[in-house]
Amino acid sequence: MGLRKVAIVGAGITKFVRRAEETGPEMSYLAAKMALDQAGLKLKDVEMVTVGSAPDAFDGVHMKGEYLLSGAGGNNKQYIRNFVGGGTGVFAPIHGWMHVASGACDVCLVVCSEKMSSCHPHPQGAFLTIFDHTTEQPLKPTLIWIFALEMRRYMETYGLSKTDIARVSVKNKNNALDHPSAQVAEAVTLEDVLNSEVLAEPVHRLDISPASDGAAAVVLVSEDVAKRLTDKPIWIDGVGWNLDTAYWATKDLYYPRYVEKAARMAYEMAGITEPQKQTHIAEPYDPFDYKELHHMEGLLLCERGEAARLTAEGYTARNGNLPVCPSGGALGVGNPIAATGLMKVIEIFLQLREEAGKRQVPGKPKVGVAQAWGDLMQVGTVIVLRR
């Protein structure tokens, strides 16, 4: 394609918490500074900055990109915000990748920040307005409706039980006990999940990731700069993104075709023809536990309808054949929407460098895929990293 190679050379992340004292810019700074320090770079080395942050309605600050600017290192730089709902966290590094791969710059800082705690009575309320204002909002929908509707369709299509799905929550919340940023890591059991409060049948409280405040950042550089800075650059081998219609009630909800299209775009760029065999580790987006299964299938990491069985067999555990969400995912670490996707990219980055500490999966993984999702069941963003 005539594009240059791009590597991730540094990462930073804050704790994910339900309510932070820090403002959005302060959280952005803490994550961005950590990433730059880890990369061995100073702010003056950064040429361009891209910031990902989900709806302004969470933080309650209009023009959130501009608001976060100083904390994200953007003063007097080429600075742009990107936003595709929950897909932002993986789209932000894709956006950064464009800056470097195109030759427009050699060093691009990518920052994602979210402060959902500002929104009252509950950040969930801000989702009221992603539904169509005229044909859907008068019914007073909640975001949980749309997930519950999709989950039931998925379960019905493949004859899955709530137990099949709850296993994902158990795996991820337990995995997250080893993640320093984790907000809701817990040694839960299947019974805990299935007995937790029912919010919208079939969704229970422990099937859902929490609302969070948090920030994350990565530093992307060109090949020449990467080789000067580190002997363990992690290359962005493939990127993909795809959006589907906003008429979400006219789609077959049991399968995320937009994730498949995004994945195919990324795999083709990365030269991956058999994702099931050629991918060693995966971080699909898991705001609800069934979503991990849904997305595993969309990412072509298993046959349709098979993800639940593989999870039950331990295939996706940290020491399984294909570790999925070894970080603990959104379910265990937390879900400050845009920062979550970037947290997953950072997890793959650390795992491929064998720097994931207690979360390290065995077998020296070489290729990993991270994916985020968002909007009205609409966007898939995928990134393939290679050591």
Binding site: K15, L30, H122, T135, I144, R153, A200, T245, L350
Partner: protein, 167 residues
């Protein structure tokens, strides 16, 4: 370099309640233009009917009515009424409100659903509420029909249909 310590501590509920906070109650009120197609869709609802658009390019009969076909990328060719009956594609039984507050024990559960409307193309569904049935009796594939508000109470809104009930 392993990331072992991360910044930001987080506030407990008590610390949050005691912290100085600036409050803002925005008055965000809107009057959204309907456009021609939704204008007709809402007018049809006021008359107790459901209006769809059709496209001669792909042959779809689409809900809600729209001015252009997003697949063929051309204006739709006309409108047609569809039935006010349909089939449940998926549903949920919800115990929380839009703002995450819980429904009181004596309040009836909300049953949102995607209903594939008879007369529209395969898969063309709309979101609405199921009512007048025990939540545990709702199934995927169940046939339902719209229960309309009395004519004098209809305003030209999706809520002119009170709910869909099995039949």
């Amino acid at each position: 370099m392993n990331i072992e310590k991360v910044p930001v501590k987080g506030l407990t509920s008590e610390e949050y309640d005691k912290a100085i906070k600036i409050s803002w109650q925005p008055k965000l009120q809107y009057a959204w233009d309907n456009g021609i197609a939704i204008g007709k869709y809402l007018q049809a609802l006021k008359e107790g009917k459901i209006l769809a658009s059709y496209c001669n390019g792909c042959g779809r009969i689409m809900l809600p009515a729209r001015s252009f076909c997003e697949l063929c990328w051309r204006p739709t060719d006309g409108y047609t009424y569809v039935n006010d009956t349909g089939v449940v594609n998926t549903f949920a039984i919800c115990h929380v409100n839009w703002d995450a507050s819980r429904l009181k024990p004596d309040e009836p559960r909300h049953i949102p659903a995607v209903i594939e409307i008879d007369g529209a193309s395969q898969g063309q569904g709309i979101m609405h509420i199921i009512g007048n049935v025990e939540p545990t009796k709702v199934t995927i594939g169940m046939k339902v029909r719209a229960v309309w508000k009395p004519e004098s109470e209809r305003e030209g809104s999706i809520t002119d249909i009170k709910y869909f009930e099995p039949y």
